[in-house]
Amino acid sequence: METYKIKNIAGHLSKGFLANPLTPILAFAILLLGYISLEIMPREEDPQIAVSGGSIIVAIPGATPQEINNVIIKPLERRIREIKGVDNIYGTAMNNFGMVNVQYLIGEDRESSNLKLYDKVMQNMDKLPEGTMPPLVKPFDIDIDIPILTVAFYKNRKDDLDNIKLYKKIRELQQDINALDNVSKTILKGVKRPQFNVLVDLQKLSAYHISLGQVAKSIKSIASNSPEIDTSTSTGTITIFGIKNAIDDVDDLQDLIIAQYYGSPIYLKNIAKVEYNYDIQNFQSVLLTYKEKNASNFIDAGDQITLTVSKLKGTNAVLIAEAAIKELQKNRDALHEQGVGYIVTRNYGERANEAVNELVHHLIITILIIAFILIPFLGWRESLVVTIAVPMILAATLFIALMTDQTINRITLFAFLLSLGLIVDDAIIVIENIHRRMHLPESKGLKFSEIIIQATDEIGPSTNIATIAIMLTMIPMAFVGGMMGQFMKPIPLNVPVALAISLFVAYVFAPYLARKLIKYEEEKP
């Protein structure tokens, strides 16, 4: 009988790997790499969107919005217009200062955008009007700006702990958390900073004939700190003496003499209330209301301090959040003793982990369901081949995603779910054709491996073209612009890769597995 001539790459691939001892090793390697990738790839809930932009803030004390608009905003906006890649410019003129927010086209490189903005402002420094403070250029940075973890610290006992002491304690903790790996920025919100408050009584002021300016001047004059002085003695050794600060505590301030009134000194305490407290001029505050576990009543914790933790770009939110929480737990008892309780009010790490695990769970369920459905049509051995092929495709795709610096997020996994329906096809088509060929009268007298190679080769050309066609439908999606395009990017990045791999797996591993798993009685010619 004539020997079959392989026509397509599909046949060549299946022939090359069919009896190759390396094939199972390769399969295991791919599965292992996929598993490792799943574990070590940075996880996040939503994909990174490269939003670049920044704001320029220019202040002229005392100027009205109209003035700011004319001398700052309008010229500045025109200059910004000269930058390439700017999408929108938002100018705002307020009392005393103006702000121009620049938004670049989505997907513009962040570093060069920031540089361009800074550059443009610097170039035009000479054109700034008189009386302007130096302009402030602040680029937006999503990674650093959006905290992945926020923790609310509150006073859980109503005793001596005041806002200042709370602040001091949290400040120490902040230092520790900031020292953790890949933590980029930590901020405290709702902080009350320590301050000496001098609250002057207006009535007494006029009664003693003192002006406010005098009070300010006398406080200023004694609040100086001086460095230590060193001088040599006659024997040549150094003697150091420091000058004690004139103000060390509230009493020093209270006993400050402001003026003389009919011969008797007037102390600051006579005309003002002096206290060591927090910054009373700061109207910002943060409060917490919470429920104990299983309780139904809310407890008002009053003033709290929220610590926010951000991560560096491309790092694993899950690990960073875990590390930070561990650090908190280490300090839990110590904090509790001092009357400080804490609640984690935002944990994107946990959320990302949950979202990823849930979708991975979905993936596994779906693969199993497909496998079960195939059993009555193809037989359980054939269906097993497909079931093994799918994780291999996903594993290889994951590994490539890891190599190309992607993260695992909702959209990546959604791309996998979407590709699931597409990637099983190639394996199904190959296995179905092998299955069909096995029962054809023409196959009588052929070796099983011959049947497999011929079956694979037969559907090769059309499967190639069909798979390439699906890949082609996905590729234009990579060029969708705007926020949505960036958001959806994992789909055009991963689905075509998964499809290409599915072809390879269908031609290499599906025939190999078929030969190992499917029983076929070869007839002696």
Partner: protein
């Protein structure tokens, strides 16, 4: 299988039956397309998702004090306290909550005034909670608005949910663009009124400072000079007295920062007895300045007090003056309230203005207003999530068309026949029938509106590839039978359909099951439904409709040997 083969063969033999298949397919296609204007299927970019958190933004009118803001916030939290699913609430006065995805574009990080507050609310885990967060906000919104908006008139309270897709400023943004600031302000108020009256729109707000009354102290330069004082001194003392200043700092060994010494008039002496000119005058009368000769000069002697309107901030977008009016949609697609509100605006503004509509583009909803009397021009530009949706649908549409073209070229290269490539393309395009029908059915069976979303469109694009694969395998197989085994055309096509039916069905089943879990997801539901229903349609199309077309084309005829 034999039965199916005979069935196809019987269709192919009779011309009338073939026409019937084509006619039915065409009828189904156009009937489903009609669902868009008939609103059987609603389009939206991305639907809401249930989350474990949401936030509330409270904006009292510009110039309100932190006490007033606190009062409104108190009212809101009192209502929230009744909710059993809330675990904790954080109240941020005078600032935004730690930045999140939603706040990123809503300017939460810029908030630094006394008239703002934000509440961050954490709920119990969404898996153990029956009410999704978007239904909770839907339920609470009217209650909160009814009770708390009146606490400080002019307050705006917004319920902000985590966006399921990319964040936008608001669902609907109307930019009122015009040079005359007072007239644009009036226009924006009218726009906001119309939006408020439109069903489905909530949280309407004008993003501009409110104008409030303030008092201006005008220093009398001559008097100041004659009393031996300086203007700077006057300014400084005024600021020092009422706002306070850190006049000196003290280094500390126990603190990581310097400790400022802050000087200000005590609270009870600086407080005015009432909000009028006399109260200010009597307060200033007791505030004295010392001149160079050591004499005390009361402030009232050298400044004049005048009542003026505050100057609101001026906002530009792309070098044009604009005022944003924003609104959120409540569980509905933005498109329909938008069209509704736009119609109302055209009607309302036609009295005073000549209204011109924009040409077809992604700004196609814009309205150009020209005042009939003065000829002043204003532009009402629609932006926000709607604009992003339109841009996305446009881009995805473009992606879709390029996918079509690419597949077509690929097929032409493969078959060297335009007719065959055309058949495959038409066949795959028809899966749209299934996609739209599927959404209609999904909308019928679910309690909330099931939207045709951007993910549905992605599903459709993927379907193009899947159904073209079906047709491709079919044609290849039939051609093999005709050319290699000398089978007659109709028989070959019928046999090919019957043989390929099994793998086509199997792959379809795999896709349907693979997408079944997607369909229950709020965001990817559209994609799941598109894939499931589209695949079903694709199976019918490739097993019935494509064979008919194949039979009708000459390209399927037996190739002459060279």
């Amino acid at each position: 299988m034999k039965k199916f083969e005979n069935f196809i063969h019987s269709i192919l033999k009779s011309k009338a039956k073939k026409t019937l298949v084509v006619a039915l397919t065409a009828a189904a296609f156009f009937a489903t397309l009609l669902m868009f204007p008939a609103k059987g299927v609603l389009a939206r970019m991305l639907p809401g998702k249930s989350a474990n958190t949401y936030s509330i933004y409270i904006d009292t009118p510009t110039g309100s004090s932190i006490e007033q803001t606190r009062e409104v916030t108190q009212c809101v939290t009192d209502i929230l306290r009744e909710e059993s699913e809330i675990v904790n609430m954080e109240l941020f006065y005078g600032q935004g909550i730690p930045l999140d995805y939603a706040g990123l574009v809503k300017g939460a990080s810029m908030k630094r005034t006394e008239n703002v507050a934000e509440i961050s609310i954490n709920l119990t885990d969404k898996h153990s909670r029956e009410e999704p967060s978007f239904l909770m906000t839907h339920r609470l919104r009217p209650v909160i608005n009814k009770n708390c908006l009146s606490v400080v008139p002019g307050t705006s309270i917004k319920m902000i949910e985590q966006p399921s897709g990319p964040p936008t400023l608001a669902s609907i943004v109307v930019e009122v663009i015009g040079e005359d600031i007072t007239k644009s302000r009036n226009l924006s108020v009218e726009v906001a009124n119309i939006l408020n009256k439109t069903e489905g729109l909530v949280d309407v707000d004008i993003m501009a400072d409110d104008i409030f009354e303030k008092y201006k102290l005008i220093p009398d330069i001559e008097k100041i000079a004659r009393s031996g004082l300086g203007i700077e001194q006057v300014n400084n003392i005024l600021y020092l007295a009422f706002e306070g200043m850190a006049i000196a700092t003290k280094n500390s060994e126990n603190h990581s920062q310097q400790i400022p010494i802050f000087l200000v008039l005590s609270d009870d002496t600086k407080r005015l007895s009432s909000n009028n000119q006399d109260a200010i005058r009597s307060k200033l009368a007791s505030l004295n300045l010392m001149n160079q000769r050591g004499m005390m000069v009361p402030l009232t002697e050298i400044v004049e007090i005048k009542k003026v309107d505050s100057t609101p901030m001026i906002m530009h977008k792309d070098l044009k003056r604009s005022i944003n009016v924003i609104a959120e949609t409540d569980l509905v697609s933005q498109l329909y309230p938008l069209l509704d509100a736009r119609d109302k605006m055209i009607e309302y503004f036609s009295k005073e203005y000549d209204v011109e509509k924009e040409d077809f583009s992604t700004y196609m909803f814009d309205l150009h207003l020209t005042n009939k009397k003065t000829g002043e021009k204003f532009l009402l530009r629609w932006d926000g999530e709607m604009k992003v949706s339109l841009d996305t649908f446009r881009d995805l549409g473009g992606a879709f068309i390029s996918a079509l073209v690419l597949i077509f070229f690929l097929l032409v290269i493969y078959y060297k026949s335009f007719a065959l490539s055309g058949i495959i393309l038409i066949g795959s395009f028809l899966s749209l029938i299934g996609v739209i029908l599927g959404h209609w059915v999904a909308d019928l069976v679910t309690t909330q509106t099931f939207f045709l979303t951007a993910t549905s469109l992605i599903g459709f694009i993927a379907l193009m590839g899947i159904s073209s694969r079906n047709s491709l395998l079919l044609i290849d197989f039939a051609m093999g039978l005709i050319n290699d085994q000398d089978m007659d055309k109709k028989h070959a096509i019928a046999l090919a359909s019957a043989t390929r039916a099994k793998p086509i069905m199997l792959t379809a089943v795999a896709i349907i099951l693979g997408s079944a879990l997607l369909a229950s997801d709020p965001i990817f539901g559209g994609l799941g439904v598109a894939l499931i229903s589209g695949t079903v349609a694709a199976v019918f199309v490739s097993l019935l409709f494509v064979p008919v077309l194949m039979d009708n084309t000459k390209a399927m005829d037996k190739k002459e040997e060279d």
